[in-house]
Subunit: 624 residues, 2 copies
């Protein structure tokens, strides 16, 4: 955490000074968000970082969520929480998924036995664990980030969207109508509207989009309970397939006692809907007991429960621009999260994918509204996230089918387990890979950093910060602040000394009028305000002379021109293989890794390829 740059202030450094412009009551805003679920709150927390953008977020419920809904938080989401600054709170409260147990009937077809027990997340998949925490607490943390931001953003509750129209020519091209707490209507005009309003999204309907796909007719129940059982793996994630009673997924919950059960119910017939079955919590308890037999299950309290059918559905596009108009018009209305894709909760993706949607969208909206990037950047949101949603739907369909089909024999049961293992990377959220596009370069130079995949999220690794010798994660320098990162990995023998490639790169970036740093940084701003340049050297931190670093790696910032000592890093030799080995960086030539504000790798290229940097950014950035 960096603070005290412009003055020494007292109190909690996470609470920003309120900005002059608090946009609370205005009815014409830059961005209007509909819905306070994980998608809406991720976007609101992101936009709240920019007090120059006016944002409002409306929610039909009368206050924050208190209980229920999703609870699975993939490694990738915890990485994102770190960027927002609340990962440590989630890690403290959450249940950590360390292992998964698989239970099946005994060889003779009766009872249950533990068939396997595996590590949930493979080593070095992420520096963050896979955890379980009530969605309500995730909401709370986002709300706190918003409240502490310079924008002091707070949701407007008890406001239901009832209409949305667009007038492309107007200054505020969208007009949204809400019904307020007393039935009154409230009209908000916005430059952009983002529908994060869940599976029955009004925003989606206003755009004329449909969720497409078929509902699998499998009925499932879910309940959060306090219970006593002699089933030994009750504090492990456990997939249990009984001989003829169906299957259960056990998800232990935060706090040491609470547990969630996903329980297989019947197949729905014809036009039947989940609600028609009149499912009750008593039915769920009875069914769970049958599946778990011969183990006992004595339920003491049901904190929350629900019954639903699994359906895999997705929208064709996540914005309001038809394919035929994409070349001449940019989007004004977006949808994100459950509004554009629904799937079973089995792989625990609901909350995660929804947050990933708006983490992708947030920085793009901010860049366009702050006039850093051309509006065409906004096309990449639907392109990128719609493709990923389709992948998820396919994955989820396979997964749900496998889960519901009774394994006929050992071989089929093992198939399920091996599928489950194989997809650990996928469900951890770290397999997302965007195709080459306006903002994702080809893999031409992938060989320079084989373990940092272009189009995938920047995979953190341990380093030591040169200035103060602090052992830390390199990825944790990438905060959700809308900035780009150029991470320069030095070639062999380059300690930043004058004449070396790092020094030349820094000199170019800081001095050359064609460099992206000089071109896109507004005058008067800190040199790292738009593009944050960092370097990683191969020598250990005691071997490098800080005073010989190029100026850009010790930049003078703020009203006093204080030096920022947090730009240069070295390998951490205590934590295992060094970062160059761990991430396959070419030790001879080094590399530049361009990282997007949402932590995805946009491009890898040689250190000396200055024009490559210009070509990349010139596609969509606007010079100041």
């Amino acid at each position: 955490m960096q603070y005290h740059l412009d003055r020494v202030s007292t109190g909690d450094p996470a609470i920003s000074q309120p900005s002059g412009a608090i946009h609370g009551a205005t009815d014409a805003v830059d961005v209007l968000i509909v819905g306070c679920g994980p998608a809406g709150l991720t976007l609101a927390a992101q936009l709240a970082q920019f007090p120059d953008i006016s944002t409002r977020i409306f929610e039909s419920k009368s206050g924050p969520l208190e209980i229920g809904q999703a609870d699975g938080i993939a490694c990738r989401s915890v990485e994102m929480f770190e960027a927002f600054g609340f990962a440590e709170k989630v890690l403290k409260e959450a249940y950590w998924v360390n292992e998964v147990a698989f239970w099946r009937p005994n060889e003779n077809g009766t009872g249950l036995r533990r068939a396997d027990r595996i590590q949930d997340v493979e080593d070095d998949l992420s520096e963050m664990p896979h955890v379980i925490l009530s969605q309500a607490r995730v909401h709370d943390f986002y709300l706190e980030i918003m409240r502490n931001s310079a924008s002091r953003l707070e949701p407007d509750y008890s406001r239901e969207l009832i209409g949305l129209t667009t007038d492309p020519g107007a200054d505020y091209p969208t007009t949204a109508t809400f019904r307020g707490p007393n039935g009154e209507t409230e009209i908000i005009r916005a430059r952009y509207v983002v529908g994060c309003d869940g599976a029955r999204s009004k925003v989606r309907k206003a755009m004329g989009h449909d969720l497409k796909g078929e509902a699998a007719r499998q009925l499932w129940g879910v309940m959060d309970i306090l219970a006593i059982t002699d089933f030994p793996d009750i504090r492990l994630k456990a997939a249990i397939q009984s001989a003829d009673q169906g299957s259960i997924l056990i998800i232990p919950r935060e706090g040491g006692y609470l547990v969630r059960l996903y329980i297989e119910l019947d197949t729905l017939q014809g036009d039947e809907r989940a609600a028609d079955r009149g499912v009750t919590s008593e039915m769920l308890i009875a069914k769970a007991g049958d599946i778990l037999a011969p183990y006992t299950l004595d339920v003491k309290e049901v904190a929350w429960w629900s019954a639903y059918e699994i359906g895999q559905r997705v929208c064709d596009a996540f914005d309001d621009v038809p394919d035929t108009e994409r070349s001449f018009r940019t989007p004004r209305v977006f949808i994100a999260g459950d509004a554009c894709h629904t799937h079973s909760p089995k792989a625990g993706q609901g909350m995660n994918v929804s947050m990933a949607d708006t983490f992708n969208l947030g920085w793009k909206l901010a860049a366009v509204l702050r006039k850093q990037a051309a509006p065409s950047l906004l096309h990449t949101y639907s392109e990128e996230r719609c493709a990923k949603a389709k992948e998820l739907i396919d994955f989820d369909r396979d997964m749900a089918r496998l889960f519901s089909v009774k394994p006929k024999n050992e071989i089929e049961a093992e198939q399920f387990q091996s599928y489950f293992k194989k997809h650990g990377r996928y469900t951890a959220g770290v397999e997302t890979r965007y195709d080459p596009s306006l903002i994702t370069a080809s893999d031409e130079f992938q060989h320079l950093a084989a373990g940092m995949k272009v189009g995938m999220r920047f995979h953190s690794a341990p380093v030591v910060r040169l200035g103060d010798g602090k052992p830390m994660e390199l990825g944790h320098t990438i905060k959700a602040d809308g900035r780009w990162r150029l991470i320069a990995f030095a070639g062999a023998g380059d300690n930043g000394q004058s004449g070396g490639r790092i020094a030349s790169l820094c000199h170019y970036l800081e001095q050359d009028p064609r460099s992206p740093v000089t071109k896109y940084t507004p005058s008067g701003s800190n040199i790292d305000a738009v593009i944050d340049v960092r370097a990683v050297f191969q020598s250990s931190h005691r071997e490098i002379a800080l005073e010989a670093l190029p100026h850009l790696l010790l930049p003078a910032k703020g009203r006093y021109g204080l030096l920022d000592y947090e730009k240069a890093f070295c390998p951490n030799h205590k934590s295992g293989p060094d970062i160059f080995d761990q991430r396959g960086i070419d030790r001879q030539s080094g590399a530049i890794v361009i990282v997007r504000p949402d932590q995805f790798i946009a491009k890898i290229q040689p250190l000396e390829d200055h024009s490559g940097l210009e070509r990349y950014f010139d596609e969509f950035m606007i010079s100041t």
Copy 2:
């Protein structure tokens, strides 16, 4: 964190339900604390955990500290913060002291050169780092713990203690008089008074105690600044001894830019006091510049500064019982922190030792007030902490002298460095060792756990929790909740199965009317309410059958009788040597480690020595 035991509740689990009895306005209390410094707040946060104890804390200032004073937080203090539940907040905000640099003049006697650079804290000294954070923020975290406790304890500000009398026979034997915000007097009667009122303690004076020792006549200045310098180690802790301008200690501060300088000024003459010198911040800046030359120092903002003389002083006793009366009377008034010892800030001990004082006292007061322990337990506070204060004073005197003496040559300068290194363990706060006493056993069985020293703090090590496979620190199970821990390390081949030594121990503890668990646990309370039994096995967590564990390691708790799955642990084979090797536990015989509520090891003994357990506790515990 364990919660949801008696019901599933929503919101932040760190915020306890308010207890029926909120003691805010009462004028007769169990414990009256005077002074809201680190000593007073540690005690208040500890007592706030027990809503059945009424506590008030009075402070003469009008509100919380905002800036200045101490900033060094030793590893041991961070361990204690973990027990209070806010270590992660400190770790996030603080500067981490990773290395120390030593600077001296060049061989020819001019300028400055880096003579050495060493790791600040040796490996495996603590699982926690040495950090630097404003004392004001530490206060804030304690205040938050108090506010969130069931007691909802808040300080009463603007209340200055002006008188204190004791009447040993009365129900509330002490009467304290305060001057309130408008000059009015307020009278509070208390069973116990703890003077945490700093170096000029009124409570100390009321007891008739004096600080003894001589003031070293060295004048020092300290300032927290924002500055630009070309001195390369400005973000490292750095001790600089110039050729003839004196010395400086650089302490980088939280946030990346702020830095504290401790600057040597002149020796005071005769009766002269620090104030007589008319020190100004300009003088400090000029002096610092001279010492740092030829490096530049351009100070942009002085956030806080102070000038003081170093004195090493300590009281003879920390309570109100003269030695001659110790056999027939127990203490009613205590002093803690700067009220009983003062020393230079050079070794960064002020805040740390003050907090350690009241962490030692807090659980003892609670145990006596809750009728778990005999009042004679209270004698051990002064015994233990006064001895440690005297050690500190001696250490500090040596340290301050070495720091102030101009090294005549390389050899003397190196002496300072080697002294500094040798005392790293001491300043980390982990060398504190209490002598054998009522509550500290002899080292008769030390060989059973060579790396867990009787009388020293329980040194954490990595383990895996059996129930959920979570990799974690064993020491982090020891919370500041006033409970004792019996940690049973299993002998070879013992997986908790029936007939083994762990099972026999658990059976004895749970069933035998003579066992400390049955004897001291009030009926109706959870079985771990007073003594929390945990076991560490030698087998890896996948090799142990949870269902075969003795009942005491899967205890039924709370109103539903839910099972607690967090009592059994296994080695963590991924994190280096396993805990048995790391802490020298006898693999053949195993051992019991009795840990006090303040995390100190009270006794080590064989697993099968049941009567040894009884003898230990029977000395001071009261059976229910």
